[in-house]
C-alpha cells in the first residue's frame, strides 16, 4: 500500500479508535486476560530467563546462517518431494500461488491462518482471478465475512464482541439464526467449513517454523483447521517469510514452548503439525502435492543492518502487542499495517520506509514492556529509537529504507538550536536566563506544544538556573 510521506494516519485513526468505548472495552478485556495467562505460564523467573536466552540464541543462530539454512531447507524439501518457489515481492508470491492452483485446476481453496498471506492480500488477489479463497480459522473466517483485516496477529477478531459476531453470522450465513451462545456460533461455522474442507481443491497454510535439517514444516494451532487445510485437499501450498527457518529439529521444542506460552498462555496447543512429505505411495490420504513458497518482501533488506536484523527473530507470538499500552487503547486497525503493535512499529517502517511510516515509529511511549516480554529478546524499544534516528538523521551508509525522510522541520530546528546552545556558553546562559526570568510570561497553552498541553499543564521553568543555584550553594565552577 503506498503511503504518503509524513503521514498522520496512525494519529488520525488512533483518535477515532479512542472515541469508541465498545472497541476499547473489547481490547482491554482481551489483553488483561492474555497478560494474566502468560504471567501464570512464566511464574518461575529462572526458567523464563533461561528459556528466553535459549530462544533468542536459537533465532540469532538461525539468522546468522540464514542464506545457508535456506539453501539446506530447499535441498531437504526437494529431496522429500516438496516443491519450493522463491518470491521477492508479494506480487510475485501471489502469481506463484495462482500458477500452482491453475496447474492443478484448483478453483476452491481453504486457508489456514497465515500472516504472510495477509501481507500478500492473497484472498483479494485470488478472488479477482476467479478462485474462491476461504479463511477457515474461526477468527479469520469472521473477519473475512465482514470484509475486515485482522486486528491482532493471533486473535484476528478480538475487536468484535459476541453480539457483533452473532449479528454477522445471522445475516451472512444462510439458515443461521441469531444466537449469542458461543458454542452455537462455533457450531454454525463448523457446519459451513466442514463442507468447504470436503470440497476444496487446495489448501493454503502459513509456516511457524521450517527445519533446515529435515525439511519439515511446523504448524501450531488449536482448532484443527490447519490440519484440515493441509491434509484433506489434494494440494497443499505453504507460505513462509524467509526468516522462519531454524537450523535443527531440536531447536523447535523451545521455540514452540515460548510461542504458545507467550501467545495465549497455553503450555501446549491442541495440535502441533509437522509436515515433511506429500502423501507417499503407500499412504491413503494427505496431499498429493506440497509446495513451499519462500517470501522476501523486504526481509533481506532488513537483514543487511546487523542491529535491525533482530526484527527478523520474531516468532509472531503477539505478546508485545498484548502488553503494549498504546495497542491496548487503540486496537490493531489504527496501525493500518499488516502487523500492528510494537512488532508492526519496527517492521512496517522498515518495509514501507521510515519516512512513510514515521507515524508508527512515533507511536510509542518507550515504556519498554514489549522488549521485556518478547520471548526471543528483540530489543524493540531500542530499535524504535534507532528508527527514529534513521528517519531524522541517518547513520552514514544507512541501508534503512527511506532513511532521512521522516523528521519534521520543527523537530530538526529544535535539535539544531539545542546543539548550538550547548556549544556556545554565552548563548546557553542567555537562553537559561530568558527561560527563568520570563517564566511568568509563558502562556498556559503553547502553540508549539499544542498536543502536549491539550491534556497537561505547560512545563514551567524554575526561578533560577541550575548554574545559579550551584553557585549560590558554593559549588565550585569547573
Amino acid at each position: 500500500m503506498p503511503v504518503e510521506p509524513g503521514s498522520h494516519r496512525f494519529r488520525d485513526a488512533a483518535s477515532s479508535a479512542l472515541k469508541d468505548p465498545g472497541l476499547r472495552a473489547n481490547f482491554r478485556r482481551a489483553m488483561d486476560g492474555l497478560i494474566s495467562k502468560r504471567a501464570a505460564q512464566f511464574a518461575d523467573p529462572v526458567e523464563w530467563r533461561d528459556l528466553k536466552r535459549l530462544g533468542s540464541a536459537i533465532r540469532a543462530r538461525s539468522l546468522a546462517r540464514l542464506p545457508e539454512l535456506l539453501e539446506r531447507l530447499e535441498g531437504r524439501c526437494l529431496g522429500n518431494g516438496i516443491q519450493v518457489r522463491w518470491a521477492e515481492t508479494t506480487e510475485d508470491a501471489n502469481r506463484i500461488v495462482l500458477e500452482i492452483l491453475r496447474s492443478h485446476g484448483a478453483t476452491r481453496v481453504v486457508k489456514g491462518k497465515s500472516m504472510v498471506s495477509e501481507e500478500m492480500h492473497l484472498n483479494e488477489f485470488l478472488e479477482e482471478h476467479g478462485v474462491e479463497s476461504l479463511e477457515s480459522d474461526l477468527g479469520e473466517y469472521i473477519i473475512q465475512l465482514d470484509g475486515e483485516t485482522p486486528s491482532h496477529i493471533i486473535m484476528p477478531a478480538i475487536h468484535k464482541n459476541r453480539q457483533q459476531i452473532a449479528r454477522l453470522l445471522g445475516e451472512k450465513i444462510r439458515g443461521a439464526r441469531y444466537t449469542e451462545d458461543i458454542d452455537e456460533l462455533t457450531g454454525i461455522a463448523r457446519r459451513v467449513l466442514r463442507k468447504k474442507f470436503f470440497e476444496a481443491d487446495a489448501g493454503i497454510s502459513g509456516v511457524n517454523f521450517a527445519v533446515a535439517e529435515t525439511g519439515t514444516l511446523c504448524l501450531v494451532e488449536n482448532e484443527g483447521n490447519g490440519r484440515m487445510s493441509t491434509h484433506v485437499p489434494p494440494v497443499h501450498i505453504a507460505l513462509m517469510g524467509l526468516e522462519k527457518v531454524v537450523e535443527n529439529l531440536e531447536d523447535v521444542p523451545p521455540l514452540y514452548s515460548l510461542l504458545t506460552r507467550s501467545a495465549t498462555g497455553q503450555s501446549i496447543t491442541t495440535y502441533f503439525n509437522m509436515i515433511t512429505r506429500p502423501r507417499t505411495e503407500a499412504e491413503k490420504d494427505g496431499p498429493l502435492a506440497v509446495y513451499l513458497v519462500i517470501l522476501d518482501n523486504g526481509r533481506s533488506r532488513i537483514f543487511e543492518d546487523p542491529e535491525l536484523a533482530a526484527t527478523l527473530r520474531c516468532i509472531r507470538c503477539g505478546a508485545c502487542m498484548n502488553h503494549c499500552p498504546v495497542y491496548t487503547r487503540v486496537g490493531g486497525h489504527a496501525y493500518e499495517s499488516t502487523y500492528p503493535g510494537p512488532i508492526g512499529k519496527i517492521l512496517a517502517p522498515q518495509t514501507d520506509g521510515v519516512g512513510a511510516r514515521h507515524d508508527l515509529v512515533e507511536a510509542s511511549s518507550l515504556c519498554g514492556a514489549c522488549g521485556e516480554v518478547c520471548p526471543v529478546g528483540i530489543p524493540i524499544p531500542e530499535l524504535i529509537v534507532r528508527l527514529r534516528q534513521e528517519a531524522a538523521q541517518p547513520e552514514p551508509g544507512s541501508t534503512v529504507r527511506g532513511a532521512g525522510t521522516g523528521g519534521s522541520r520543527g523537530e530538526s530546528l529544535a535539535w539544531r538550536l539545542w546543539a548550538k546552545s550547548h556549544r556556545h556558553p554565552v548563548l546557553y546562559r542567555l537562553l537559561g536566563l530568558t527561560a527563568t526570568r520570563l517564566r511568568r510570561f509563558i502562556p498556559g497553552r503553547l502553540p508549539v506544544l499544542a498536543a502536549w498541553t491539550s491534556a497537561r499543564s505547560t512545563p514551567r521553568p524554575a526561578a533560577r538556573t541550575l548554574h545559579e543555584l550551584a553557585k549560590s550553594a558554593g559549588v565550585a565552577d569547573e
Partner: protein, 223 residues
Amino acid sequence: MSDGARARILERLAAARPKSPAISDFAVVARKQWAAEARYPRLRFLMEAVHSEFLEATEAGWPLAIREFLAEEGLSTLLYGPGTAAAGRLEAAWAAGTRPSLVAYDRPIESEDLKRRLFEDIDAGFTTTRGGIADTGGLILWPTPDEPRLLSLVPPVHIALLDSRSIHNTFWEAMRVEGWASGMPPNALLISGPSKTADIEQTLAYGVHGPKRLLVVAILPES
C-alpha cells in the same frame, strides 16, 4: 522468475554480516525430568484440564473397554486402520457381534465414497500413539500407511491408545531419544486435546473443526 528471485534473494542475504550468536544452552529444557511413575498421572492431569477424557484399561482388556464405551455413548461406527497389532486386537474383540460397526480405512480416501462417509457417517476414529509428553501433556502420533492422517482429525470422536509406560519427559527429549531428525515421517503430530477455539470473546469452545472429543485409552501395567 522463481530462479532469478532465488539467486537475488540469496545474494542479498549473503552480502550481510549478521552478528554472531550466543551459544544455545538447552539445559533449561534438559532439566525437566519426572520419575517414571509420575509421568502418566501428570500427563492425565494436564490433558484433562484441556478436556481430554481418559479410560484406563489393562493390556488384555482395552479392546472390549473401547467397545463398551462406544455402546454406552451411542456411537455406532468406529473407523480404524487395519494392519497394526492393535488393529488385530480390535478385530478380535469384534468377533462376537457386529455392533457398533467397525469400519476399516483400507483404501485411498478418493475411493468410492470413502471421503463422504468419513465426513458424514463415521462417529469415531481409532489410532495408536507413539507415546506421550509429561511436561505439557500431549500425545505423539506418527500417521502411517496403516493408520492414515485423517483418522485422528475428521471423525467427531478420536480414540487414542496410549501405553502409560511410553511417556517422555519433554517433546525435546522424545525427538532426541528416538532420533527423529534422522528419519522424519511424512507427517508427525502432537495432540493434547479435542479441537478448540477462543476466537469469540476469548471464550473456549470445543469441537470447532476437528474432533469434539478426545478419549485416551491408557494401558496401565497389571498389578
